[in-house]
């Protein structure tokens, strides 16, 4: 187990930054560092969470450490034309201001190698479509925590399909379930941040 894997798995931000710099100094490429250490660490903590051995704050600490390490690598990645797992546009739908869960999903997706465009909360269908088009997104992630706003998800799905852009749509949020996701024509539903990443991976595979 590398120091970087360990730092991200344990959610130690300063240690993760130090370890990623040391890996660069040792001649590893950003892509190697991400693929060989960082993504496996996030997968490992995600597995721990899925099996009930750690809690949401542990996931968040790991995601924060991952993000801090990625900040160091990002300028180098742009120069190196590094590949990502895919591009995701994510947001909480119009009328809804809850964003804690959505931000957790965004962080976990970044941690597993996705490029994430986080549009925030109270996002209209037009903004989702514009962002997906501008960023050549692979996936749009929709979040809602209210029964009164989850209905707007169907409007977004319909608008995206009508726009003609080729993008998969996944949905999540406390009042939703897989049946609802199917009924509005979404490509997938996940009940937590960890599963959301696995779903995103499967949608771009």
């Amino acid at each position: 187990m590398s120091a970087l894997f360990d730092a991200i798995f344990k959610g130690l931000l300063p240690a993760a930054k130090t370890a990623v710099q040391e890996a660069l100094d040792a001649g590893q490429s950003p892509q190697e560092i991400i693929n060989d250490n960082m993504v496996p660490a996030m997968e490992a903590i995600g597995k721990e969470f899925a099996e009930g051995r750690v809690f949401v704050p542990n996931l968040l600490l790991s995601a924060r450490a991952m993000k801090g390490a990625l900040e160091i690598l990002k300028p180098l990645m742009q120069a190196e034309n590094t590949t990502t797992a895919g591009t995701v546009v994510i947001g909480t739908v119009k009328g809804d201001l809850h964003d804690i869960g959505k931000n957790l999903v965004a962080s976990m997706l970044e941690g597993r190698g996705f490029k994430v465009i986080n549009l925030g909360a109270d996002v209209s269908k037009e903004r989702f479509i514009e962002a997906a088009r501008d960023n050549d997104a692979d996936i749009i992630c929709l979040s809602a925590l209210l029964t009164t706003t989850m209905g707007y998800m169907k409007e977004i799905v319909d608008a995206v399909r009508e726009s003609g852009i080729k993008v998969r749509i996944m949905v999540g949020g406390a009042p939703l379930n897989a049946e609802f996701a199917r009924s509005i024509g979404a490509d997938g539903y996940s009940s937590n941040a960890n599963d959301a990443v696995d779903l995103a991976k499967s949608l771009v595979a």
Binding site: F55, A63, R64, G95, L146
Partner: protein
Amino acid sequence: MKEVEFTIAPEELSRQSVWFAMGYRGSTPEQRICDMAEEVIDALLPAAVVKYMYRLVPASKISPTAITLGGTVFNPGGIIGSYLDGMTDACIFIGTAGREFDAKLKEINSEGDIVTDFIADSIGTVLAELAVDRLERDLRPGLNLSMPYSPGYCGWDIREQQSFFPLFPPEPCGVTLTASSLMQPEKSVSGFFAMGEKLIRQPYHCEICKNSKCYKRRKG
């Protein structure tokens, strides 16, 4: 109609309630997470002026799923309805962690640290619930009192907030309602305690609810 406000010192805040809101059920987070939470509590609590407003109104159960509160008909559904046999009165309430707290929460959110943001959000949930706890402690109805029930929970359609809020003066405790029935400030709570001489207070039976993601969910 009565309005109450209070502040709470960091040492008065139940840490078990904070851990519960953070997802720990009967356990304590590891020390570094506790330490982070203590920092957030110290930063947030001076900004919090918790408020609640309540009214005692006539109430009745008119069908297995429907009730009246202060003359207005609501449909909280069968889960809540099953707890309301014998209801003759109700204490309807709105509580909030307050606008000042909400502003502080947004400030923390804008700093982009997702761990701190999550802890702060959990503390806000506890403060809003604390308003309900204080109200319950203050109530001396002379009648049996139910658990509190809120639009948006236990199968009660959140859109009924639109009928619930008019039972209070405009912007009770500074709380407003969006078109999507979301309360602002975000850390606010609304609902009612059923009261009645023959009413039997029953614990929440989360095992019969379909919302497995409810933050209030008990094990079972």
